[in-house]
């Protein structure tokens, strides 16, 4: 057990987020059970009021998750001095088996909360609460994940003992480490570059097609989601190498550091926002036919599409710029 203030802050936020989530989930359940839009009964009025509370809470959860995601990585980075062998966040997170799962879950929860808010936005624009049931059923899927995340986070910090010998980026994200991340890092550059850039290109083309013609929304959404995954893998496989200008440094965290001009924040922020918006387009697709949303959804989807395209474009431009001016040339 160690107690740097940042760990305390993260655990505190985990508690707050899962507490708020559980609270929202409880009322979500009541809404699913007692929702009765035909009548202005007092219970119905009370439930309708609760929807405002839940939206507010979810907005805060999304914000807190995003901020704490970066704080978590930064803290892990800061802790590396405590462990022999750790040189950055990669090593600190590997110190026990809770670090990486906690990080992964944080990312998933962020995406989930973002998509939920997109649904919520659409629902609030329909005059008959068209998505209310779906929305709160999804919320009840998210709540356990939020709770699990804070448990993992707590377990991670509680399980840290200084002076553990860990391996760091070099071995963890090294090509021959045999771990999953190692496998990702070992993906050959050439094909990964092709996959990454064609993913971006397919997303761009299908996005523009969808924007102009209003068709193939699923294709675009799938493309943006798959591209997101490919890009994360590419981060490990080749993008990092160009940024660090080192042929074997695959760590996805170091680029959040000052030495690299905090470029990681821009890259990840663009990638995550683009993914949330892109997935949001697909999640809205099944509701095209809902009468009260006919006028709402297409406009929303077009705006989301623009967000995805702009974010991914920004990402691609930065990567291309880094690749062309990098001192490193990969074969």
């Amino acid at each position: 057990m160690i107690l740097p203030p940042a760990a305390l802050a993260l655990v505190l936020i985990g508690l707050l987020v899962s507490g708020m989530g559980t609270y929202a989930g409880y009322y979500g359940m009541r809404i699913i059970k007692y929702w009765d839009p035909g009548h202005g009964t007092e219970r119905q009025l009370e439930l309708e009021r609760r929807t405002y509370l839940i939206s507010t809470i979810m907005n805060y959860i999304l914000g807190f998750e995003l901020m704490s995601l970066f704080l978590f990585i930064y803290t892990a980075d800061d802790l590396h001095t405590l462990f022999t062998g750790a040189m950055c966040a990669a090593g600190s997170l590997a110190i026990n088996s809770f670090g990486y799962p906690a990080l992964l879950l944080k990312i998933i929860n962020f995406l989930f909360a973002g998509v939920w808010l997109i649904l919520n936005y659409a629902d609030n624009r329909g005059y008959d609460y068209p998505l209310i049931k779906i929305k709160y059923e999804l919320l009840n899927l998210l709540v356990p994940l939020l709770v699990l995340e804070s448990v993992l986070l707590f377990a991670y910090f509680a399980g840290i003992k200084p002076d553990i010998i860990t391996s760091c980026c070099g071995s963890l994200f090294g090509r021959d480490s045999g771990s999953f991340s190692g496998d990702l890092a070992a993906l050959p550059h050439r094909p990964m570059q092709i996959a990454c850039f064609s993913g971006m290109a397919i997303t761009a083309v299908s996005g523009m097609f969808f924007y102009l013609k209003g068709r193939s929304g699923y294709l675009f959404s799938t493309a943006s989601a798959v591209t997101f995954l490919i890009t994360i893998a590419s981060m490990l496989s080749f993008i990092c190498l160009y940024i660090y200008e080192l042929p074997s440094h695959h760590c996805p965290f170091c680029l959040l550091q000052k030495e690299y001009g905090y470029i990681g924040y821009v890259l990840y922020a663009a990638l995550f926002s683009g993914a949330v918006a892109g997935i949001g387009v697909g999640v809205l697709m099944p509701f095209w036919q809902v009468a009260s949303l006919v006028r709402i959804i297409p406009g929303m989807q077009r705006r989301l599409t623009v967000v995805t395209l702009v974010c991914y474009l920004l990402f691609t431009l930065i990567v291309v710029w880094k690749m062309s001016f990098s001192a490193l040339k990969l074969g």
């Binding site: 202005g40 009025l45 006028r295």
Partner: protein
């Protein structure tokens, strides 16, 4: 036109103190006229007006607004007619903001801010540019001869001045329907007559006016078009005064 069919409002449903404040009211209110609701205290006038004004939802029954749909950000299926009782709060509110202006018995001005700010207050959340509604507010103050009070704090005004500020505030978002609940209760008879003149002028500008009152100055006024009488939550008579 506003059409009410079988409107009922019950408080504390299922509890010991269950109370039906509005009981099965069916009514049609003509546009661009002045309609007065009269009746003894507790007969449900305020409750009915707040339901019509989209402030509260009825327990059952339906309300149709005709000819306001154009002003709305969405369409119901019925073209120009909107059925408002099943709408979520944020839509009711949208209608309320764009269609109704309210004048209350206690005037309900916000203390501590100026007259001008009080008048502009309903426009804040509409997302309109400040300069636009400010110009409109100044114009309204001018119309009601209280432009010199614009910078005055509202709690320092006299009753008649408060009344006029309240009217100006009700008009800031250009509503087509004005709802006034006991507007003359705190005014002497001279000011009450003055109020009725203002209301008549608003009618002349094409606004629909609904007034709840048991003041004879109001329901005996030559300007009014119809009187709805209520007792125990029900409408007992509805007649045109023409």
């Amino acid at each position: 036109m506003i059409e009410l069919s079988d409107i009922t409002k019950t408080f504390n449903t299922g509890k010991q103190n269950q109370f039906t404040a509005v009981d099965n009211v069916t009514l049609a209110i003509e546009p661009q006229q002045i309609t007065v609701f009269k009746g003894p205290s507790g007969s449900g006038k305020t409750s009915l007006l707040s339901i019509i004004g989209c402030m509260a939802r009825p327990t059952s029954g339906r309300i149709f607004l005709h000819g306001v749909a154009a002003a709305l950000p969405f369409r119901n299926d019925g073209g120009e007619t909107v059925e408002i009782t099943s709408l979520p709060e944020r839509f009711l509110n949208e209608i309320r903001r764009s269609t109704f202006g309210f004048i209350f018995q206690q005037f309900n001005l916000v203390r501590g801010i100026t007259v001008l700010e009080n008048v502009m207050l309903p426009a804040y959340p509409t997302g309109e540019g400040r300069a636009d509604f400010r110009a409109r507010a100044e114009n309204l103050l001018e119309q009601f001869n209280i432009a010199r009070l614009a910078g005055q704090r509202s709690e320092l005004l006299s009753g008649g001045e408060m009344q006029r500020v309240a009217i100006a505030r009700a008009l800031i978002n250009n509503p087509s329907i004005i709802i006034a609940d006991e507007p003359t209760a705190h005014l002497d008879s001279k000011l009450s007559h003055e109020f009725m003149e203002i209301v008549a002028r608003l009618k002349g500008e094409g606004k629909t006016v609904l007034i709840a009152s048991h003041d004879p100055v109001v329901f005996d006024s030559p300007h009014i078009d119809s009187v709805v009488e209520m007792r125990d939550g029900a409408v007992v008579s509805s007649r045109s005064s023409r």
